[in-house]
């Protein structure tokens, strides 16, 4: 396991709160603005997920699809994603950084080259939505060689067999998808999420973080009561897509991220399971 990422969870545990994980698509809406936004979000989060734009984001809802399209239209290349990652790393030595995306982009580059560049840019982990444990043979060795955790997902449809597969083949943390659906949909029933997360925690030693559908500080606080981490994605990306011409995207994102930070940190150690 990547040392820095494990330290993030240790630190959060000591401080008595869940980890706050924020997502933005790299290069959205353009490279310069994206650089500022990623820096701002990094200030407020324990782990930053940096999305690698892809032409066909099959697991994403309209908000993150549009973010990918904006980034690609702005001419963002994979090397720009690495450069943005590096600039965040330079200013945030203790932040956990996860590169997130779809298989075809790293596959086109070759996983060995990809992993080398990702490590060099300062990433700690990689989350590829469409490479389940069964297909890990195409990337696992390269990621391991470059000290990158492989974050695997679990979902409401995951059986015990699949939970075991994820805990044996993944590292860093388990990303639990709170709903059967795409990013940005409505969050699932909180009791169902709580039960499934508890079940996964009983089967795996890895931290379990919950994402998909968390849009309000209240929802984040609810999830923070039992999860090891709370992932907020579409809600932050919406600060970009919903901004009018004269709106200050950076101020809007700072405000949202600050509220989420407060919500997650406000759940004291006592209230946490």
């Amino acid at each position: 396991m990547n040392i820095r990422l494990s330290k993030v969870f240790e630190r959060c545990k000591q401080e008595g709160h869940a980890a706050l994980i924020g997502y933005l698509t790299a290069g959205d809406p353009d490279i310069a603005t994206s650089g500022e936004l990623l820096q701002a979000l990094a200030d407020q989060t324990d782990i930053l997920e940096i999305g690698m734009p892809f032409s066909d984001p099959m697991a994403d809802g309209p908000v993150i699809q549009a973010a990918s399209e904006r980034a690609l239209e702005a001419g963002v290349h994979i090397d720009d994603v690495f450069a943005l990652t590096r600039s965040v790393r330079e200013t945030h030595p203790d932040l956990g950084i996860v590169l997130m995306g779809y298989a075809n982009v790293p596959y086109a580059m070759g996983f060995e080259t990809f992993a080398e560049k990702a490590q060099d840019a300062g990433a700690d982990a990689v989350l590829i939505v469409d490479i389940p444990p069964e297909e890990g043979h195409i990337c696992d060795a390269a990621l391991k060689k470059h000290d990158l955790d492989r974050i695997l997902l679990l979902s409401p449809t995951s059986t015990d067999e699949r939970i075991r597969l994820a805990s044996e083949n993944g590292s860093g943390f388990i990303y639990y998808v709170s709903l059967t659906g795409i990013t940005g949909a409505d969050m699932g029933d909180i009791d169902l999420i709580r039960n499934k997360v508890a079940h996964i925690q009983s089967m795996s030693d890895m931290p379990v973080c919950v994402g998909f559908g968390i849009k309000t500080p209240d929802q984040a606080a609810q999830v923070a009561q039992f999860a090891d981490g709370v992932v907020v994605g579409s809600h932050f990306v919406s600060r970009i897509s919903e901004a009018g011409c004269n709106d200050d995207i950076l101020a809007s994102l700072l405000n949202s991220a600050g509220n989420m930070r407060k919500a997650v940190s406000s759940v004291s150690a006592g209230a946490r399971a």
Partner: protein, 417 residues
């Protein structure tokens, strides 16, 4: 003569053994697999289990084959196109008449099979993607027959060029959902159907339309379509007393190609030819020839040849035929190509249009634009061969749905230019 009259027992024509199966993970060599989001892994496994269970159940085949015979109209004829053959002065051309199936294309072989699977699994709703609309119509048809709710995802651009099929789907009770994301064509319709399925897999069966996608779809779709090649093989032996020298099919994702070609895979003497859409020409970059011009990549659940840029972004494609306008291709075709068992050919928009008119005038058969690609290449190959040789071409669908596109290209629609 109706081909089915030659058989006392319709079902005896079919070989139900699964040949050239992928490995347990759905890999054909380095291609295929199950590159799916976690939420879909369990539903895909359930479909795989249901498929193998059904395939080993005689009652499943009894019902499937009964429907193929009496509802779809199988066996479809094998027609010796003598005037067309003479026009080229080469090999004898035989056409496998999938255009004569109920709904007008081969697609229904697969939707009957998957529809029966959906019913066995207790699913009340089916969804599908469609490009030309033929798979959508075939899915809507089966949904109507089985009394299931049906949503069809279709790129808005494809809806415009295949309006008659959109209206047929609506008449059949299906809901046609326009897709505006990306290039608004077939690949985006697949994305949108997958997004819906992730949210609805508990009560919904995704009837995938081509021999691609995550395991088990490439295997399952191939198996449901091998009736095409198995019939054609028996029919050509009966009619000509020998196997064809060449078998030709057009390729978008590869469903009709796998259906016709796979049953000939172990016949070493038969050349298997896949014809891709060359659009404005392979050198223009505006085409849909993923086998000829693509490279290995991962999209829609499988590793296969893709048209993509250097960084793995999937490119928009072009073909006059919506059914071939897809940047990927079935993984087993990619494997057969690398293995050397498959030969590639391509036909441009113009060549397909020309072939469509030629078949129409010489034989009185109006083929679909997709099938016209196979005709264009197949006749070109036949021309170079001897008159005692045989070229078998899959006429995968009829051309009714394409009339608007064709009339427009011929300049017969004065108000549109």
């Amino acid at each position: 003569m109706n081909a089915s009259c030659q058989y006392t027992d319709f079902a005896s024509m079919y070989d139900l053994e699964i040949k050239h199966a992928p490995d347990a993970g759905g890999h054909f060599g380095r291609f295929g697999g199950r590159f799916a989001a976690e939420t879909l892994m369990q539903p895909l496994k359930e479909i795989e289990e249901a498929f193998f269970e059904a395939w080993n159940d005689d009652s499943f085949h009894a019902e499937r084959l009964q429907l193929l015979e009496n509802y779809v109209g199988r066996a479809t004829p094998l027609y010796h196109a003598e005037r067309l053959s003479k026009a080229f002065g080469g090999a004898q051309i035989y056409l496998k008449r999938e255009d004569l199936t109920h709904t007008g294309a081969h697609k229904i072989n697969n939707t009957i099979g998957q529809g029966l699977l959906a019913r066995r699994m207790g699913k009340k709703r089916v969804i599908a993607e469609t490009g030309a609309g033929q798979h959508g119509v075939a899915t809507a048809t089966v949904a109507a027959m089985f009394g299931m709710a049906c949503d069809i995802y279709m790129g808005r651009e494809d809806m415009a060029r295949q309006m008659p099929n959109v209206l047929r789907m609506r008449l059949l009770g299906a809901n046609v959902i326009p897709v505006d994301s990306g290039t608004a064509t077939l690949k985006d319709a697949v994305n949108e159907a997958l997004r819906n399925w992730v949210a609805t897999c508990e009560n919904t069966f995704y009837i995938f339309g081509t021999a691609a996608g995550p395991h088990p779809y490439p295997l399952l779709v191939r198996q449901f379509h091998t009736v095409i090649g198995q019939e054609a093989r028996a029919q050509i032996l009966k009619q000509a007393g020998r196997l064809p020298d060449v078998a030709v099919a057009c390729v978008g994702g590869g469903s009709n190609a796998m259906g016709l070609l796979h049953p000939f895979r172990d016949d070493a003497s038969v050349r298997l030819v896949a014809v891709e859409a060359a659009g404005y020409g392979l050198s223009t970059g505006k085409h849909a020839a993923s086998l000829a011009a693509g490279k290995a990549g991962i999209l829609h659940g499988n590793l296969t040849f893709l048209l993509e840029d250097e960084e793995g972004q999937v490119m928009g494609t072009h073909s006059i035929s919506a059914g071939l306008d897809y940047p990927g291709v079935g993984p087993e075709l990619a494997f057969m190509l690398e293995e050397g068992r498959l030969q590639l050919d391509a036909a441009t928009d113009d060549e397909a249009l020309e072939a469509l008119q030629l078949l129409t005038r010489s034989e009185g058969i109006i083929p679909a634009l997709e099938s016209s690609h196979a005709l264009a290449a197949g006749t070109r190959i036949a021309k170079t061969m001897d008159t005692d040789q045989i070229v078998l071409i899959n006429l995968s669908g009829r051309g009714d749905k394409d009339m608007n596109t064709v009339f427009k290209h011929l300049g017969w629609l004065e108000n549109e230019s």
